[in-house]
Amino acid sequence: MTDKYISKDGLNGLIASVKASGGRFVAPVLDTRQVVYKEVSSAEEIVDDYILPRNSYKEIAFPQTEILAKYELTRDGVTIDPVEIVARDTVVFGARPCEAASLASLNSVFTWDFIDETFTKRQEKVVVLSLGCVDADDECFCTTVNLSPASTEGSDVALYETENGYIVTPLTDKGTAFVSAHSDSFTDVAKGEEKKELVNPEKVEGVDLTKLGERLAKSPNYDNPEWAELTRKCCGCGACTYSCPTCHCFDIIDEGTAFEGERRKNWDACQFNHFTLHASGHNPRDTQYKRYRNRFMCKFHIYPTKFNSTGCVGCGRCIRVCPVRLDITDLMTAMSS
């Protein structure tokens, strides 16, 4: 399919069209002094001056809390009533190319040994309209992990900002189908309509992903005192994992009153002390640097080798949100040598 065009004003038509077909339109909006992904009903709500929303759009396919089943305790035992997964057609507008690459990574986790339908059913219904970045901040490092504002991995449709609108490039079948389904909202690209220049963040000096991977693979390095020295300031808040587009750990818990309740799947984070605490009281990751090491290993060794997928997309959220300013790229640099 050839490129299309949609003006900023024209977005309202697209939103209406998506809604009319029973879908929802998610885009970056301003909420309590932060840009976040939220369902919108008009184009005016959408902000265009942002680096990245605070939250990751992984929430759409992997919500923070998910009810898996309802249960009831009776004299005859426990009756369990599974909850049907309601997946809605969802359009994510304005995702950044870095983040777009993340769902693929999540998909490999949720499908390798067991197909987690709570995730896949939702993911199937998500159409990602990524928007090439015309700005970057100090924390962006997609180029360091071999992505860029021009990356298309994980995007269904690529959008490129112009003076008054966006040039629309469908990338996948899903993307083509989406543009076709809402063809009224798009026009052909007018002559002279120019893409704004994409801005690449600077590559972090000294990072070599191959060397990094090799080094992490060597077990003696696991107990290198460097880990503690580099990460002992980590306060274990887990804000990084909860903002990260590729973090995917969860916990299943039953919550309710005496005779009934719900089984819920909740986000969990390897940064929490409780995450690995055994019933015996022993905790294999008993100090914070071990927990941080785990997250780092997960991103740059375990998942890349296990699934050949990108563990870190360089969105920089973890650096922005970190209250102690622990910079993952510092570790990447240190561990590349």
């Binding site: 305790l73 004299r75 035992g77 005496a258 005779f259």
Partner: protein, 657 residues
């Protein structure tokens, strides 16, 4: 799945009238874990309990709920029955249906009562599912009592305990036991001589083979709990070897140095090596190390030279001993309000204004004047004596708000003693009210007025001053409505009884409560008057508040009966409703230690295999914990829980709501 039985009592018609107990039984049987339910006319009756026990056995129940009357009524009954049927008694829970449902909701359709009973029973069932087996706590008992204070209350307590066959140690901070009673001349209302009735008891205490006297000693530290106190006692250096001293008196005869006698309240002198009074028990002197020139600057040493058995030892030092006790009786007594508080009565400024206790010494046959009433300034016989009552008592602004209770009686006694010794003397008494409640007390006061001619003036004294060797008293006589001025030779103040200085420190050492006047708090002022909140520590005599000799003696005996009851077996059992610390999650912030009303939480050292202290964690002492649960709420990490009322149990009840 648990196997729970629910027993709904009809209580005759008391419950059945407003609650359909059969319906409750039928409905609760539908709940998970409930395998047996029944409704019965009288669960607490013999047949009721038999069927209860049978049901437990037949159905192999592991928990039972009895929906009946208040647990305050029959919880013990059913728990005992459950235990008899082989259940742990703490797997039996009561739902309060009668007092808190059927009796208070008079709905004839029985809908309200039945619904509520079902709700309450459901809550109890869910709570019960979280119950754990608990076993009564048994504590070994050291059968040895400590009596702090060797006044009449302490002596009585010690004698009664010792007569009951148990060992007692009396710790007395003065060189002799006897306390304030030893100072008194005669006692109201019988007028028998104080020394005559006290001395035999003192001697009996000294000679009793179950009693040890630690005189000139003080309690420094108290650790442990009921049955198991560990007490550190400071034995102050007497500089006299108690084991060899015969009490012959040669040393104090020869000692050339004198000091004001504490026992005589400054009315006479004593030597620097001394016994406080001639009948002292033990009759062993001590050296006043603050005044002895041998000790201060290595001069004199005459006493050592004259001592036949060579008992004087100037090198003695204070000694700390730690001993084990099972119970403690606190009988630390009182003192009179210090004179600096009575400027307006001239006390401390005018020599002939004295306290009631000083008058006792003047009237005592063994006192400084040999029993003759002489005024301190010129040693002449006073012809007019004014007694001022409520000096400090019932006077919230300058003194204490309470009534010192014994002053009305002893003032009446003073006027009589005075008249008996100075036949032409006139006693005047300024009083607010006369409080003479007690057997033969009122008659006694009347005798003082009618027989011995004391002049009672109702009113307060406004001014006391000295003029030409006389003490002038100006005051009001409210009954005649006139101002009075009396030229007296001597004034006697019925000063308020107050707690001893340092009473608060002693209380803190012991972990018992005290009021704003530093009198010790009883566990319950009416029903537990000699107990304290700290189990195993008892109170006798005036450390609790003003009281007279018969009361003090009764309290001494009462504490003895408490102690003997405690010592009646080698171990004591306690309800296991106590707090418990989860050592995995304790933060060692000590908030529990601070908030515990019983000093029941200790800082426990956690050691590694080599014995090095690696951590400090909270530890609940089962012997001291009373199970209030204050610590549980103070603990943010919920590292403490209260057995019998655990978080899980409470949560289960709330979640059933």
């Amino acid at each position: 799945m648990p196997r729970i039985g629910v027993f709904v009592c009809q209580c005759g018609n008391n419950i059945e009238a407003t609650v359909d107990t059969q319906k409750v039984a039928d409905e609760t049987k539908k709940l998970p874990g409930v395998v047996h339910t029944e409704s019965y006319k009288f669960m607490c009756s013999s047949p009721g309990q038999d069927s209860f026990k049978k049901a437990i056995k037949d159905n192999k129940l592991d928990g039972v709920v009895v929906s009946a009357c208040s647990p305050h009524m029959h919880e013990k009954t059913f728990r005992r029955a459950a235990e008899a049927a082989g259940l742990n008694q703490f797997q039996c829970e009561i739902t309060n249906v009668r007092e808190q449902c059927s009796w208070v909701h008079h709905d004839e359709t029985r809908k309200i009562g039945t619904d509520k009973t079902m709700d309450l029973t459901r809550m109890t069932i869910q709570r019960l599912k979280k119950n754990r087996d608990l076993t009564k706590i048994t504590i070994p008992v050291t059968k040895r009592a400590l009596v702090i204070g060797g006044g009449i209350a302490g002596i009585q307590a010690a004698l009664d305990i010792a007569d009951g066959g148990q060992e007692v140690v009396i710790v007395e901070k003065e060189p002799s036991i006897g306390g304030n009673m030893a100072r008194l001349s005669e006692t109201f209302p019988t007028m028998d001589c104080s020394q005559c009735i006290l001395t035999p008891k003192m001697v009996e205490a000294e000679l009793h083979d179950k009693i040890s006297l630690y005189t000139y000693s003080e309690v420094e530290k108290v650790d442990g709990y009921i049955g198991n106190f560990s007490v550190t006692i400071k034995k102050k250096a007497k500089f006299v070897d108690e084991s060899t001293c015969t009490g012959c008196g040669e040393c104090w005869e020869k000692c050339p140095f004198k000091a004001d006698s504490e026992f005589e309240l400054g009315l006479s002198k004593r030597k620097v090596i001394y016994t406080p009074f001639p009948q002292a028990v033990p009759n062993i002197p001590v050296i006043d190390k603050t005044r002895c020139p041998k000790i201060l600057k290595d001069k004199c040493g005459l006493c050592a030279k004259v001592c036949g058995p060579q008992s004087i030892d100037f090198t003695q030092e204070d000694q700390l001993v730690t001993e084990e006790f099972g119970a403690i009786v606190v009988a630390t007594g009182y003192e009179l309000m210090p004179n600096k508080d009575f400027g307006e009565y001239g006390y401390g400024k005018i020599t002939d204004v004295i306290s009631g206790m000083q008058f006792e010494r003047l009237a005592s046959a063994s006192g400084p004047t040999g029993g003759a009433i002489r005024r301190p300034s010129d040693n002449t016989e006073p012809k007019n004596v004014v007694f001022i009552q409520c000096a400090g008592s019932r006077d919230e602004k300058r003194g204490v708000s309470y009534c010192s209770k014994i002053c009305c009686m002893y003032t009446a006694k003073h006027t009589m003693l005075y008249r008996h010794k100075v036949h032409d003397g006139q006693a005047y008494v300024f009083y607010m009210d006369i409080r003479s409640g007690g057997k033969r007390y009122e008659e006694f006061v009347r005798g003082a007025i009618e027989h011995d001619g004391a002049m009672y003036l109702r009113g307060r004294v406004s001014r006391v001053y000295e003029k030409d060797g006389k003490v002038i008293i100006q005051g009001a006589d409210t009954l005649s409505g006139s101002q009075v001025e009396i030229e007296a030779d001597m004034v006697v103040l019925a000063t308020a009884l107050v707690s001893r200085p340092g009473a608060d420190t002693v209380a803190q050492t012991l972990g018992i409560g005290y009021d704003k006047y530093k009198f010790y708090n009883e566990y319950h002022p009416k029903l537990k008057p000699v107990e304290t909140v700290t189990a195993g520590i008892f109170l006798a005599g005036t450390c609790v508040g003003p009281m007279d000799i018969p009361e003090s003696v009764s309290q001494g005996s009462a504490t003895a009966s408490k102690v003997l009851a405690l010592f009646s077996s080698d171990k004591m059992a306690r309800e296991p409703i106590t707090a418990e610390v989860n050592k995995q999650t304790c933060n060692a912030c000590w908030d529990c230690v601070t908030s515990c009303p019983y000093v029941a939480i200790e800082k426990e050292e956690i050691k590694d295999r080599k014995g090095n202290v690696v951590n400090m964690l909270a530890h609940v002492n089962d012997g001291l914990c009373q199970g209030c649960g204050v610590c549980v709420c103070a603990c943010r990490s919920k590292a403490i829980d209260l057995n019998g009322y655990t978080d899980e149990q409470v949560y289960a009840a709330i979640a059933t709501f």
